[in-house]
C-alpha cells in the first residue's frame, strides 16, 4: 500500500450466477483487495478463476438478470460504494473515472463507426467538448498511443487497422477522459508477441505519465513481471496469493502460484515434461524432470521434403485489373520422422498458408512437397485421397473447429468411416474410445457435444480426431495459442507423449517463441511470406542470425528478472 486510502477497495465480494438450469454458480467466493492510486495491480488466473467477473463487477457491467451480488460485499471507489450507486452516477463514472479495455479489440470496437467517432463519442459524453474540439483531441490521443498517421487513421474503420492498432485505439478511447483507474482485461492475449510487448510498454508508459492506477488481468503470470507493482493470484473464485511483485515471483507461498510460474515453457530450459498445476497441488514436492535434447540428427529419415513452395492470391482491381498477393514465397524445408519443425512468425507472415497449402486446402502456385518421396502437390485428387489421412491438421480455435451439432463419437467416427479405418461401427467405436482415453478424456465423453467441454478438452478432442486416421505428419496451427498457460502445458505434454509413442512428425506453427523452442527440433522463422532463418532450435535461439529473429526474441516477456532457474 502506498497511500492511506486506496483508490479502489474490494471487500468480501461474492458473486453468484443463476444458471439456465436454475442452479447457482459461485463465481466469486468473497474476495478482498485494494488498488492504490498510481499503482499497477496484476490479477492472474486461469479461465474460470473469476478474474474477468471481478473486473465486470467493479464496472457494474455484470448482467442484472442472472447475477446476484451477495449482501455484505463492498466495492468502494474513492470511498463511494459502487454497489449502492444508481445507474446515472455509474454511467458518469464509467469511461470517465474507471475505463476498461478488452481482450479482442476487433470485436470490442463497433465495426460500422470510424475509430475517431468512437473516441469522440466518449469525449463528448463526459467532457462536454464540442465535436470539432473532440476530434482534435481524438487525433492527439491517437498520436499519444502511437498510431501512425493519426490525422488520417482517425477516419478509418476498425477493420482497416491491424490488431495492434485496434488495441491502441481501444487504449486511446479508455484514456480519453484521464481515468483514475484503467482495467485491462487480457489486453494482449489476441496479439502477436512483438505487438504484445509494444502494447505492454505503452500501458506502462501511459500509467506513469497520467498517474493512473491499472488493474491488469491476465492468465499468463509471465507477462506481468516487468511492470506490475502487486500481483493477485486467483483460482476458482478465490484469491490464492496476494503480494508485492517481487515477493510473489521470488518467494511464492501458494502451491498454485508456484505451478503457474513453472508451467510456462522457458527459453533457458527444456524439461522432458512441462510442469502442470497438478504437479504442485500434490503432497510430495515437485521434481524437475530431466532435460530433453532436441535437434535434427544427420541420419534422420525425412518424411516431408518441401521445395520452393509458393502461394499467391489474386484479387480483382478496377474494371480489368488484377492484384496478386504473394502469401508464401519460395519456402523450402525438411521434416524428419518423429521430429518437430517449428514455424514462427507474426500474423501475415504466411505460416498458416504453408500449412493449408500442404493439406491442399489451398492450391499451391508453385513448388513440390515430397511426402515419402511422392509429390503430393502434383497428385490428382484421387491419388491424394489415399495420402490425405497421413497429413492432418489441428487448428487454433477449438471452439470453431468442431461441429457443434455432432457428438464426440460422430466427430471421431466420421473420418474413420471416410477412410475405411476399422471394419465396422463397433470396431471404430472401440478405437475412438481408446483414443479418447489416450488423450486423457473419459469414454463417456463420446456421447457429449463439443460445447460441454472446456477449451483444453476440445483441443484434446481435435487431437483425437486427427489420431483416428493414424497420420504421419500433424500440422499444429497455433494449436495451443488460445489456451491458458496451464492448459497449454498439458496439451504440449500430450503432443510430446504422442510423438514419442507413435513417431509422429509435427509442423508446429506458432507466434509464441517459448512454446516453439520447447517443442521443436528445427525452427524456421518466416516474415512476409519468406523464410528469413532456419536452423536447429538450440542454435537458432542461442545465436540468432537475422535481425528479425533477434527482434522476435527480444519481445518475449522475461518474467521476473531474478526468477530462479
Amino acid at each position: 500500500m502506498t497511500q492511506a486510502t486506496p483508490l479502489l477497495s474490494v471487500r468480501d465480494l461474492r458473486v453468484n450466477f443463476r444458471l439456465e438450469n436454475g442452479e447457482h454458480f459461485q463465481a466469486l467466493k468473497g474476495i478482498s483487495f485494494d488498488i492504490a492510486a498510481n499503482c499497477t495491480v496484476a490479477l492472474v488466473g486461469e479461465s474460470g478463476s473469476g478474474k474477468s467477473v471481478t473486473a465486470m463487477a467493479i464496472m457494474r457491467l455484470l448482467p442484472d438478470h442472472h447475477t446476484a451480488i451477495a449482501p455484505g460485499s463492498d466495492i468502494l471507489f474513492e470511498g463511494r460504494n459502487l454497489l449502492a450507486a444508481d445507474r446515472r452516477s455509474l454511467r458518469a463514472l464509467r469511461g470517465r473515472e474507471i475505463a476498461m479495455i478488452f481482450q479482442d479489440p476487433m470485436s470490442s470496437l463497433n465495426p460500422v463507426f470510424t475509430v475517431g467517432d468512437q473516441i469522440i463519442e466518449t469525449l463528448m459524453l463526459h467532457t462536454g467538448m464540442r465535436r470539432k474540439a473532440a476530434r482534435q483531441r481524438a487525433i492527439a490521443l491517437l498520436q499519444e498511443v502511437g498510431l501512425p498517421e493519426p490525422g488520417r487513421k482517425v477516419d478509418a474503420y476498425p477493420h482497416q487497422l491491424s490488431g495492434g492498432q485496434q488495441q491502441r485505439v481501444m487504449i486511446a478511447m479508455a484514456i480519453a477522459c484521464e481515468p483514475k483507474l484503467l482495467i485491462a482485461d487480457e489486453p494482449t492475449t489476441a496479439l502477436d508477441v512483438t505487438i504484445q510487448q509494444q502494447i505492454l510498454q505503452l500501458l506502462a508508459q501511459l500509467q506513469k505519465k497520467h498517474g493512473m492506477a491499472v488493474l491488469f488481468i491476465t492468465h499468463d503470470l509471465g507477462l506481468v513481471g516487468e511492470f506490475a507493482d502487486e500481483v493477485i493470484v486467483m483460482r476458482h473464485g478465490e484469491i490464492r496469493e496476494h503480494g508485492p511483485l517481487q515477493q510473489v515471483f521470488s518467494q511464492p507461498q501458494d502451491a498454485y502460484t508456484k505451478a503457474l510460474l513453472n508451467c510456462r515453457p522457458r527459453l533457458d530450459s527444456r524439461p522432458a515434461r512441462l510442469a502442470v498445476i497438478d504437479d504442485f497441488l500434490q503432497d510430495r514436492p515437485y521434481q524437475v524432470p530431466p532435460q530433453r535434447t532436441r535437434g535434427y540428427a544427420p541420419g534422420d529419415d525425412i518424411v516431408l521434403d518441401v521445395q520452393g513452395l509458393c502461394k499467391s492470391f489474386e484479387s480483382r482491381e478496377g474494371l480489368f485489373g488484377k492484384h496478386v498477393f504473394h502469401a508464401v514465397k519460395d519456402v523450402s524445408f525438411q521434416l524428419a520422422r518423429g521430429k518437430t519443425l517449428g514455424i514462427v512468425g507474426e500474423s501475415g507472415s504466411g505460416k498458416t498458408t504453408v500449412g493449408l497449402t500442404l493439406m491442399r486446402l489451398h492450391q499451391a502456385s508453385a513448388g513440390r512437397a515430397l511426402f515419402n518421396g511422392q509429390d503430393i502437390l502434383a497428385m490428382s485428387p484421387r491419388e491424394f485421397h489415399a495420402c490425405k489421412r497421413r497429413i492432418q491438421i489441428i487448428f487454433q480455435n477449438p471452439y470453431a473447429s468442431l461441429n457443434p451439432r455432432f457428438t464426440v463419437e460422430e466427430i471421431l467416427l466420421e473420418p474413420m468411416a471416410l477412410h475405411g479405418i476399422g471394419h465396422d461401427h463397433a470396431e471404430r467405436k472401440q478405437l475412438a474410445a481408446a483414443l479418447l482415453e489416450r488423450v486423457g478424456l473419459p469414454r463417456r465423453a463420446l456421447q457429449k457435444y463439443p460445447h460441454e467441454f472446456s477449451g483444453g478438452q476440445r483441443q484434446r478432442i481435435a487431437i483425437a480426431r486427427c489420431l483416428t486416421m493414424k497420420p504421419n505428419v500433424l500440422i499444429c496451427d497455433e494449436s495451443v495459442s488460445a489456451l491458458d498457460v496451464s492448459v497449454q502445458a498439458q496439451v504440449l505434454n500430450l503432443l510430446q507423449d504422442l510423438q514419442d509413442e507413435c513417431g509422429l512428425s509435427y509442423l508446429f506453427i506458432s507466434h509464441d517463441l517459448s512454446v516453439v523452442k520447447h517443442i521443436s527440433d528445427q525452427v524456421m522463422v518466416m516474415q512476409q511470406g519468406q523464410v528469413v532463418e532456419q536452423a536447429n532450435a538450440d542454435t537458432l535461439y542461442a545465436n540468432p542470425q537475422h535481425p528479425y529473429t533477434r527482434q522476435l526474441l527480444s519481445a518475449i516477456p522475461q518474467g521476473w528478472p531474478h526468477q530462479e532457474g
Partner: protein
Amino acid sequence: MFAYILRRLWQMVPTLFGVMLLLFILFHWVGGDPSYILAGKSFSAETLANIRHQLGLDQSLPAQFLIFARQVLTLDFGISWSTQQPVAEILASRIGPSLTLALPMLLVSLLLSVIIAAIVAYVRGSLTDRIVTLICTLAMSVSALVYIIAGQYWLAHKLGWFPILGWSDSLATNLWRYIPLPLLLGLVVSLAPDIRFYRSCFIEEMGHDYVRTARAKGLSERAIMLKHVMRNALIPVVTSLMMSLPYLFLGALLLERFFGIPGMGNEVLNAVDRSDFPVIKAITIYVALATMLFNLLADIVYKLIDPRVQLK
C-alpha cells in the same frame, strides 16, 4: 465503385439471356398453340394459318427466339391478345394502383416492425416480449385469406368502417377510402414474421462485444440501442428489404384481387386466366430485370451501411 457497377451490369446480360431462353422454351412446349386460343371458337384452317403467320409461328424456332429477343430489347411486347391494347400501355396503367397500395404498406410495415422489434429485443425475456412473441406466432399461423375475408365481413360489411371494395381515379380518394382496409390487413400478415426476424437481428447484435465497450464508456442503454446496435442490426434488415422490393411491382396478388384494385397483381391473374401470353412474358421479363437491378442496389446500399463490405 463505378467499375464494380459496370461489371455487375455486364454480368446481367447472360442472366437475362438465361431467363429469356427458359421463358421461350416453357412457352413453346408447355404453352400450347396460341393460335387456337386467339382464334376463339369459330376457327377455320385459314384463320389459324393467318394467325400463325402474324405471330411468326410458321418460322423456325431460332427465328421465333429472335423475334422474342427483339421484343425484350425494345421492351415492346406487342398488343394484348385479350384486350387488343398495347402491353406497355396496360402495364403502365396497372403500376400506379399497385404502388399506391404496396409503397405505404412497405414503409409502414418497415417502420412498425423495426420499432416493435427493437423494443421487444430491449426488454427480451420480459412479459411484454413473451406476449409479443406469442401474438406473432399466432398471427403467422393463420392464413392471409382468413384475415381478408374476416376483415371484409366484420370491418367493412358489419361495422361499415370501410368500403368492402372499390377503386377510383383520384389518388386522394383511393388513399383515404379504398387503401386503409387492405393496408391494415396486409400489415397484419406481414408484421408478425418481420418482427420476429428483426427481433432476432437486434438480439444477436446486443450480445456483441462492442455493446459491452459502449457500456464501459458510460453510454446510456438508450444511446447504445439507438446508435450502436441499430446500425449494425439494420444490415440484415436492409438485405431482406431489398430482396422484397421487386415484388412491389408484382403487387399484392390476393389483396388486389379481393379489393378490386386494378394493379399488377390483378393483371397477372387476369392474364393467366385468359392465356394472354404477351402480358405474361412482359411481366416475367420485367420482374427478372427488377430483381437483378434491386440485387445490385442492395449490394451498394449494403456497402453504405457496412464499411466492412468490399465490392469486388
